[in-house]
């Protein structure tokens, strides 16, 4: 039997985000500002996945994120898993957690909100007992997490 080939090359040191639903991949890329990275980034798109059908994966060499940066990802993918790699080995596995407050990440859905009309950062609080919505700090508009749009940077 033929040995299975790895579709995405391993990295020596850095961060791997696996099991990204494919439709969310580019939102994750934007949120982490991967276009501004200078080290090697490997992106696998529409790979086979038993759980998700199609999944995506991002491997970032020599890149480590702060908790704050990673937790922002929970806005678009609440169940992401991250692997921290040192010397080709997974040294830590982490899941993201939605922070109570989000500043400058999510766009307010209300066109009459001050944040859509002034050069300023948006600010949201997690809303509801199930933590599945965000409430605008300024205009009180409530957005379901599934409908979230990120600010353009």
């Amino acid at each position: 039997m033929k040995e299975k080939q790895l579709l995405v090359a391993a990295i020596e040191n850095g961060t791997v985000i696996d099991h990204i639903p494919s439709e969310k991949l580019f939102a994750v890329v934007n949120l982490l500002h991967l276009d501004r990275m200078t080290s090697a980034v490997t992106i696998g798109y529409n790979l086979e996945s038993k759980e998700l059908g199609k999944k995506s994966i991002i491997k970032m060499a020599d890149k480590f994120f702060t908790d704050e940066e990673l937790n922002q990802l929970a806005v678009i993918c609440p169940n992401l898993t991250l692997c921290i790699i040192h010397d080709y080995e997974i040294t830590e596995k982490r899941t993201v957690a939605l922070p109570d407050e989000l500043k400058g990440i999510v766009k307010c859905a209300n066109p009459k909100c001050i944040t859509n009309n002034e050069p300023m950062k948006t600010h949201f609080h997690v809303h509801g007992n199930e933590r599945n919505a965000l409430k605008c700090h300024y205009c009180n508009t409530i957005i379901q997490l599934d409908d979230v749009q990120l600010v353009e940077k």
Partner: protein, 349 residues
Amino acid sequence: MKNYTFLKLSLSKYCLSEEKEVNLVRKTLYTIGNMEKRSLVTIADHSREKIEYLIQMAEEFERHPNRRLLEGRVVATLFFEPSTRTRLSFETAANRLGARVIGFADPKVTSGTKGETLKDTIMMVSNYADIIVMRHYLEGAARYASEIAPVPIVNAGDGANQHPSQTMLDLYSIYKTQGRLDNLDIYLVGDLKYGRTVHSMLNAMYHFNPTFHFIAPEELAMPEIYKNFCRDHGIRYVEHTDFNADVISGADILYMTRVQRERFTDLMEYERVKDRYLLKLDMLSKARPNMKILHPLPRVNEIEYSIDENPHAYYFEQAHNGLFARQALLCDALGITLEEIRNDSTIIN
């Protein structure tokens, strides 16, 4: 910490004793700390105690509305959206307390039309005024202004979001007519979907164990988010689409709002319901003796004119109460206490 270092540096040139310097720094920092919290953005920020405190303040001003309490102060009224009624009420409140008033009533005359940001306008006016009363067409504008301005901001309405001075005068009117705020049956009628006054009323009254009755056409029914608010806070509510003498017979307060044509996507629906929420004189036949009719005004066709002379009608007095409520809000935002108002030696009459 930034404030502390700055103050220490500023004071060093006066060569004060260390004890005096520490006291002065402490006092100034306390004032700055209070200033940051003194803005009024939404009534939802206020506790039950604070609402009662402001009502007591308004009572003092009703007793003696003309004073020189704010002499030497400058109040700016920035109306990025015209609202003659609210502006005149705030400006009268300031004038009767001896303050000077600057500002604009029409945004067309401001640099906003040249592309100036709200932040720049607020920072500029903060150099001139001790307090800013602001009306804006954008939602959240008052919260943002309160975060950036070095002087207190009083929200005089931000889009469809909040209008706390209206809520405060509503509460004062309810308190005056019923002698209490607790355990009242409050009936809200008309446009409950878009009417921000009725939404603010829910936020403010939840401290006082009310029972609400929502009377509206289906198209303008109380939104789910506010009904959830009631459920989460244990506020009882009943919904009605009928509006007649029997439905309103249990009311202590009948709060009327305008059903606006422009809110309807289906104009046939508007024509069908527009007169259904008209309060007629004969509908008051079963009303409780203490029942009062409130309306934020302007009235168009919600209350028959024949009701104006009826003892249940209270909407014109309600507007008058706005003056005292706004005097209280201005003074509170400027850090003047109820105690100081009670011991005020500047009363004219």
